[in-house]
Symmetry: C3
Subunit: 155 residues, 3 copies
């Protein structure tokens, strides 16, 4: 096994203006509490028995895997939202599933879509859902903005 299997996870979100789209993304990561962390993007599973914890502060520069949705925009006044949903199975020997979605639109709209996405993913597996957890970040762009929602794995 090259990598270990994570045993804990938490959900965070953030949004920010920025000098460039990448600076806005950096600001959103900072607001989410993971701006001084090295995030490695992965597809999108919560291992069996992985425990949800409160967000923790990592040592600066540590490499952690994450599943996230993010969107930047340079259209003043535009509302952008990013959300993640974690669907956990009734059977504790099965894994949970993370879905990510971002688009123009309000928190309400994006949350509904990302919840449906996670529910569809569990249905495809033939698994019953025990719990469906979401976090969504909505942001109204001033000049250049970013919005972000993430599931951080740890352990």
């Amino acid at each position: 096994m090259i990598f270990k299997t994570p045993t804990q996870y938490f959900l965070v979100s953030g949004a920010s203006e920025g000098y460039t789209p990448l600076n806005a993304f950096d600001g959103a990561l900072l607001q989410a509490g993971i701006g001084n962390t090295n995030i490695v993007k992965m597809s999108s599973i919560v291992p069996p028995q992985c425990q949800r914890i409160s967000p923790i502060t990592f040592p600066p520069g540590v490499l952690v895997p994450a599943a996230y949705a993010a969107l930047t925009s340079d259209v003043p006044g535009e509302i952008i939202s990013a959300g993640v949903a974690v669907a956990l199975p009734e059977d504790e020997n099965q894994n949970g599933l993370i879905m990510e979605y971002s688009a123009k639109g309000t928190r309400h709209k994006i949350e509904e879509i990302v919840r449906n996405m996670a529910a569809e993913g569990m249905k495809l597996r033939g698994w019953k859902i025990k719990d469906l957890q979401t976090v969504v970040s909505e942001y109204r762009v001033k000049r250049i903005g970013a919005t972000l929602a993430a599931v951080i794995l740890w352990g």
Copy 2:
């Protein structure tokens, strides 16, 4: 050394409809046998002496590195294909090279291009090819579809 060097690899492919493009991608991962795995995308080397194995089932939620091509489409009737090619060198002390390609079009067309890409990459290195392995997934979209081909590293 932060990460280990993988010692085994295998090729998989899959395709699926989905409620959204990400759900279709999730379905393609499931069909490929890696839908309950945390895939971390990497560029695209097979280490020297890395052995090809038959696809294995990972413990759910484990983090594994992969090189993959994937494409989603929401155009009904459209044919989309994704392929990967692994070029292995005659000199066993040198590494192999993975190339990925996806586009509208049939299996035949995408396979030819991705094979040429891997051959060109070896030519650029001045290395002779001992073996050229490919897997391609072709899919005709119904409503929203995804196609995927991947090389999974392990060991």
Copy 3:
């Protein structure tokens, strides 16, 4: 902790023609000295006390995390540039920040932007800059070209 915290880093750059955009990117990685390495993309922190070293040659196929900017173009004559900037803090207990930027345009333009991006990121954190390191790769496309600048973490 799933991954370790890197303790060394170095900056590299490269550019190349290629049979396809991905082949050009592969050629740029080769010219940068990391073409036979498995690069895993991450967001973009240099841990505290992480030491800059001269570029090293990795064992082929090893997995290493990197922050990079890259751009491909198939417009003959077009000038494309990619740059990374590393801003290091006065306070050695704080981490450094990596910013990446690529666009059409000359080395001079891209370097100015990516330096400003790193400076803005440090300002957002309220941290003073001790050193600002950059590498930029400029390339004039013949048929299909790629340009790349990267910060490689190691240790």
